[in-house]
Symmetry: C2
Subunit: 419 residues, 2 copies
């Protein structure tokens, strides 16, 4: 009972998080009901016969969440059916030359060869990205037409019916997808890229307050909820790629023209991820630093650097937020550049602090930073070792002889602490 309640709450949350999901579900129902009218209405039914079920099938398979997805699948399906239908008819004519006994053998050879070649073409990355579904339908239709041709008398009629029912299905999908609460992949990509920049900005803002702000001593980042949001940015590549792929199929809509430079969004996404990586490094460093409870002797110097860091982080955060809102509103502003300039100024101020203190200090600083980064790297290995060790215990990796003899069930758990 409690589990059912939890499930109900979860489902409600999914719908509330993005109401377009509910609309999409209703749209699929609508498209299916529309296409099944062909079945119920007598005059329509007699034209196409039982092949109307191909239209139902097409609707179920082609209907995607975004307009671009539906377009990509629908066009792939339509053109692949057309091409494979024509090729199938040709193969049928060729095979007929083989006589009664040769025909099935020839047909078998054709199907084998076409299927193998088409399948192999799916390993070409460009084909995979844009025409994967088309290739499936190509193999499907070709096999159906070629194989059926052995039994079916009126092959042309079959091919015509299949093509027209697929056309009906695709048209139904496209109309429902484009004209009833459309979800554009391009717009989603646009918003996603801006939202990712915002996530980084939001994290930096929080970090600036917690770690470099006035209450900097008390700030522990563990358990803060804003900590998690930027991590999703690191793994956003697959979503961005697929949205961009769909967006390319979409006609112009709203502010987005047909040849909108979607590739640029992928570029922004890549540099955003690079920035997220940099944030991850900084975040890891600060977390370990907090755990080591360093005591401070040269308070003045430390405070100067901290203040500069606080400003750099604040300005960087503002620059990112500015860029996000600039994308979102499609309105260029040079404010982001100004924020970056201010952050850069603060960075140079830190550099300038150093020679005043000590002339050889600069070398020390550079070496120290490198050493710190390498130390962080070393620290990364520990969780990897722990995870591999856990695996080795669970699936019983082979162990070196001596430890087995000693009856050691689990290897000594190594934890390295750098303090």
């Amino acid at each position: 009972m409690q589990k059912l309640e939890e499930l109900a709450l979860k489902i409600r949350k999914i719908g509330k998080d993005d109401p377009r999901r509910v609309f999409h579900s209703l749209k699929v129902g609508l498209a299916l009901t529309l296409v099944s009218i062909f079945y119920y209405v007598n005059p329509l039914f007699h034209g196409l016969g039982t092949s109307t079920m191909w239209a139902v099938l097409t609707v179920v398979v082609v209907m995607e969440y975004t307009v671009g997805g539906t377009l990509s699948k629908g066009l792939n399906r339509a053109f692949a059916t057309l091409l494979a239908g024509a090729l199938g008819l040709g193969a049928n004519h060729l095979a007929a030359l083989g006589g009664d006994k040769g025909e099935p053998i020839l047909l078998g050879v054709f199907v084998f060869m076409l299927a193998a070649m088409a399948t192999f073409s799916r390993f070409v990355p460009e084909m995979k990205a844009r025409y994967d579904y088309g290739v499936t339908i190509f193999i499907l239709t070709f096999s159906l037409v070629a194989v059926s041709s052995y039994r079916e008398e009126e092959l042309i009629k079959l091919a015509y019916r299949r093509l027209s029912t697929v056309a009906i299905g695709v048209t139904t999908c496209l109309c429902t997808s484009m004209f009833v609460f459309p979800v554009w992949a391009g717009e989603d990509l646009h918003m996603l890229v801006a939202a990712n920049l915002d996530k980084l900005a939001c994290f930096l803002e929080g970090m600036g307050v917690e770690c470099f702000g006035e209450k900097m001593e008390s700030g522990s980042l563990e358990g803060k909820s804003f900590l998690q949001s930027y991590k999703t940015v690191l793994n956003s590549k697959a979503t961005e790629d697929s949205l961009a792929n769909f967006a390319r199929w979409e006609p112009g809509h709203g502010h987005f023209g047909f040849r909108h430079p979607w590739n640029l969004y992928l570029k922004i996404g890549a540099v955003t991820r690079h920035c997220a990586c940099s944030i991850e490094a900084l975040n890891t460093y600060i977390s370990t630093l907090e755990q080591s409870h360093q005591t401070t002797t040269d308070l003045e110097f430390k405070q100067m650097v901290q203040a500069a860091c606080a400003e750099m982080i604040k300005e960087t955060s503002k620059a990112l937020a500015e860029l996000a809102s600039s994308i979102r509103g499609m309105k260029w502003s040079s404010t982001a550049g100004k924020h970056l300039a201010m952050a850069t100024e603060a960075a140079n101020r830190v550099k300038a602090l150093v020679p005043a203190k000590n002339s050889t200090l600069l070398d020390v600083l550079i070496s120290a930073t490198t050493a710190s980064l390498v130390t962080e790297l070393v620290r990364c290995i520990n969780p990897i070792i722990t995870a591999v060790e856990e695996l080795s215990r669970l699936v019983e990796f082979k162990r070196p002889e001596h430890s087995r003899k000693a009856g050691a069930e689990s290897p000594p758990h190594v934890v390295i602490a750098i303090d």
Copy 2:
């Protein structure tokens, strides 16, 4: 002509890189040819009639590259067909109660409701990951049975035929997939995780030689081919997730039991990516350092730190390589832990260097590292600004009034240099 040659070379390379791709293509051809025998042989054909084409369709759609993929799709298809077929028959009986006029309306309502609910269930992440294909087939079969029931007299016979042809198709796929040169998703995941660790190890080894080795002054990392390999690790999450998902469907094979802890591979993958992020931060820092041509005054200190860094990187690289080979050979060794201990020792040695030099230096170092990391972060913003700016130029974002009046076509390009 030249383009054709290039294409031929490219296709050859794809086949050569992984010969299993060629086998897979031939396997698809084989499975299709096998299933079409049902069509050519008379006694077999008369049992199932033209619905044999469902078997052909099933083979084309279900056959995947890995055994797990085929199993997941095949079982999803089989069970969804069974469930939806039964529900469709039930819906048909219910609708028949509505009389001649009510029947199509009731059927329409059922199809609409089932389709909408099933589509919505695809937004639940757990459903999406494992049963997405099953839900599609569920909607498909239910609609087909419910809609056909209005015209078809022998509905039970239709449902039986559909189920048995799907079973024939799925069985053909599974046999071809599992017994002819099988490609196991689990094994691929196992190898991928090890290969990713190896990529990091290989990069670190190269970096250690180039940047911290004896010829450390000359080393420029730009344009080195080993530089690129670790970047693919950063984006490996999607591939790992999908392989792990397929691997869960696979029966035990080779060293992998049925309940092999595939989740642990995802965990290793996650910490590996974290490590890759740390490498990225280090790499970026070193690259910018090289460009700034820092002159050295305190050579002795620098060399001591460099030597320690070189050792840390060497040992880390060895630890990673050891872990990779430990996974690959499924043979636990504690050598990785020893390498890590040595790296840690080197890290502590760097720390020990500092107090000897200057008592307040430690504060300076920590502040300096933080400042360097933040500076790196600031530097990350520049490419983002450039990319957004490029976008704003290409799609003509709105510009602030004054720049439009001044006739400025492109905004002033801001490049911030931190030196």
